[in-house]
């Protein structure tokens, strides 16, 4: 086993997920079997091979910084689970 239940719980915190005990146990088993499948990659010699992050050659795409119409506050807030005036409302984050 590569991943312990404690590591799985730590990753869940990093991912902002909360797993039930049963889910944690199931994910530990499943993630380990998936990670085992990944071991194959270690057989391949990749020394000197550049990583590929995009399928097409990428360069920065720039445009002039000109004001243009965008969503109104009302449109931007129309799906908010909770709002207060023109703000998204969340649980207290500072004391």
């Amino acid at each position: 086993m590569r991943l312990t239940p404690e590591q799985v719980e730590h990753v869940a915190l990093l991912a902002r997920l909360r797993l039930s005990e049963e889910e944690g146990a199931r994910f530990t088993t499943q993630l380990n079997s998936i990670l085992e499948h990944f071991e194959q990659l270690q057989q391949i010699d990749t020394s000197g091979v550049p990583p590929m992050s995009h399928a097409v050659p990428m360069s920065n795409v720039l445009r002039n910084d000109e004001p243009a119409p965008s969503l109104s506050p009302e449109e931007a807030l129309q799906n908010a689970p909770d709002r207060s005036r023109d703000c998204f409302r969340v649980p207290r984050v500072i004391e």
């Binding site: 991943l3 909360r18 994910f27 499948h37 391949i44 689970p81």
Partner: protein
């Protein structure tokens, strides 16, 4: 009225001709489709929601403009189904997830703007695996979709609702997205045509992101001509997508010449056999027969090996979840979507509870996998390694394309599998995309074209893979093949299938 009855079974180009000659109105076509939906949707469940008011208004506008004598685009008045992954202004868009239930986007995706401008009529939003993560549409938070050819089987995924809607004649054409096979595999399982264009050929603006270096939008249609017509609508350079390719867009219908003489076609060994395990016998036979057909049509066919394709699955299942874990961080219950009820907890607990209740198991599994692969101490072993092997996969393709104009193979190692057959075994489910995933990793265009039926009457799809921006070569070969066969003319009959099954049960 009898002439109107079969309108739902026609292709987009056939309807386009009827519309142009004023032998049918957009409203009549829409009524025929609605009649069909009313008969079969209860069995197939292709749609998450229908947009009948929107469709009625769009069809009326097309008919009015035609009466007015306006020149209309070829697909004006043709009914289209949309995967529930495109932002559609004011129309609920869920991506198959509880976390986006009742989300109404305030804007349209680029491809939606383009479809509107071309007069396509929006039938509704189709079912899909949650956040496009899956190969069977069983990961949808809102229920399963059934394969119109056999209601006990999956339609494939993740664009399963889109493929099933076209195969069941509940839409004339539809749109999907393809990150690892999500257009081609369901198109293959449902016996219709599906294209994943070159990465960057179609804008991803307003398309809910899964894995941004792999995601691509494309059409699902009844035949190759319809595919070309839809590509004429979708392909474009878009400033709002920084990965959009700034290259001229051809008229794809010009590629529809049934002529492959001298075309060099490579049958990919690793598509036929992944890590030594061969595809299902009937699938292999159909693909070899298709290669023989290409030879009879004058193409040169030979087998070609791309050895690094044997590592596609592990590479994909690091890169895609890594990108997904980052893309899906935005679902936190603050700006839109679901938020768990608060119990006076802090914001981190609000995030965790929201995401726990909002995401399904497969999405959580992939977020976990991606977060782990990117976490401190593991990045080099997993993500970096996978990105390097991705380079080797692309180099294999580049080498093959020095010898060949086009590569072919199966779309999937099997025909449509049974509902529930693979839900408990993630790795088995992942392996159903083994032939399609390498094409996304390479950023290449790929296509699924019907090439046969199994002894159980289930469709088999052939995959064509082109060079970057090689869509026209793919379309030409696909068209030549299609015109020499009649697989694309068969239609699924889900209600009759159901009745047949019931009568068997009743007799038994």
């Amino acid at each position: 009225m009898s002439a109107r009855d079969g309108l739902h079974e026609l292709t987009a180009h056939e309807l386009s001709d009827l519309l142009a000659r004023r032998d049918a109105s957009a409203r009549e076509i829409l009524d025929a489709i609605w009649g069909r939906i009313d008969r079969v949707e209860g069995e197939v469940s292709a749609y998450l929601r229908q947009t009948r008011e929107v469709a009625r208004a769009q069809a009326a506008e097309v008919d009015e403009r035609r009466v007015h004598g306006d020149e209309l685009p070829p697909l004006a008045g043709v009914p289209l189904a949309l995967k529930d992954i495109y932002c559609t202004e004011g129309i609920e868009t869920t991506c198959g997830s509880r976390i986006l239930e009742s989300f109404r986007p305030p804007y349209d995706a680029d491809v939606i703007e383009r479809c509107r401008a071309n007069g396509l009529v929006f039938l509704g939003k189709t079912n899909m695996d949650e956040f496009a993560m899956g190969s069977s549409t069983e990961n949808s938070a809102f229920g399963v979709t059934r394969n119109p050819w056999d209601l006990d089987r999956v339609p494939g995924g993740s664009s399963g609702g889109s493929a099933a809607s076209v195969a069941g004649s509940e839409a004339i054409c539809s749109m999907g997205t393809d990150t690892g096979g999500s257009i081609r595999q369901p198109a293959s399982f449902c016996g219709v045509v599906g294209m994943k264009p070159t990465y960057g050929r179609v804008s991803r603006y307003g398309v809910i992101a899964f894995a941004s270096s792999l995601d691509q939008v494309g059409p699902i249609t009844k035949d190759v001509r319809d595919c070309a017509l839809m590509m004429n609508v979708l392909a474009a350079h878009d400033e709002r997508d920084s990965t959009s390719i700034d290259a001229p867009v051809p008229d794809y219908t010009q590629a529809l010449v049934p002529e492959v003489k001298g075309l060099r076609i490579g049958l990919v060994t690793e598509f036929m056999e992944y890590q030594g395990v061969g595809v299902e016998a009937e699938v292999g036979d159909a693909i070899r027969a298709a290669a023989t057909r290409f030879q009879e049509l004058g193409a040169e066919c030979a087998e070609v090996s791309l050895p690094h394709l044997n590592y596609s699955i592990p590479v994909y299942y690091i890169i895609a979840p890594a990108e997904a874990s980052s893309n899906l961080a935005r679902y936190d219950g603050v700006q839109y979507g679901y938020r768990a009820a608060e119990e006076g907890e802090d914001i981190i607990e609000m995030y965790r509870k929201t995401r726990d209740e909002g995401f399904g198991p497969e999405v959580k599994r992939r977020i976990m996998l991606g977060t782990y692969a990117l976490s401190a101490g593991y990045y080099d072993a997993y993500y970096l390694k996978a990105s390097q092997v991705r380079t080797l996969i692309r180099r294999d393709f580049d080498r093959a394309f020095e010898q060949f104009d086009l590569l072919v193979g199966p779309v999937s190692p099997t025909v449509a599998f049974r509902l529930g057959e693979k839900t408990e075994d993630p790795v088995a489910m992942y392996l159903s995309d083994v032939c399609t995933i390498p094409v996304n990793l390479g950023g290449l265009p790929g296509m699924s074209v019907p090439c046969g039926f199994s002894s159980d009457g289930l469709p088999i799809g052939m995959q064509l893979v082109g060079k970057p921006l090689g869509e026209e070569t793919m379309l030409r070969a696909a068209y030549a093949f299609e015109q020499s066969t009649d697989f694309h003319r068969r239609r699924a009959h889900p209600v009759e299938t159901r009745d047949g099954r019931r009568s068997v049960v009743a007799r038994g």
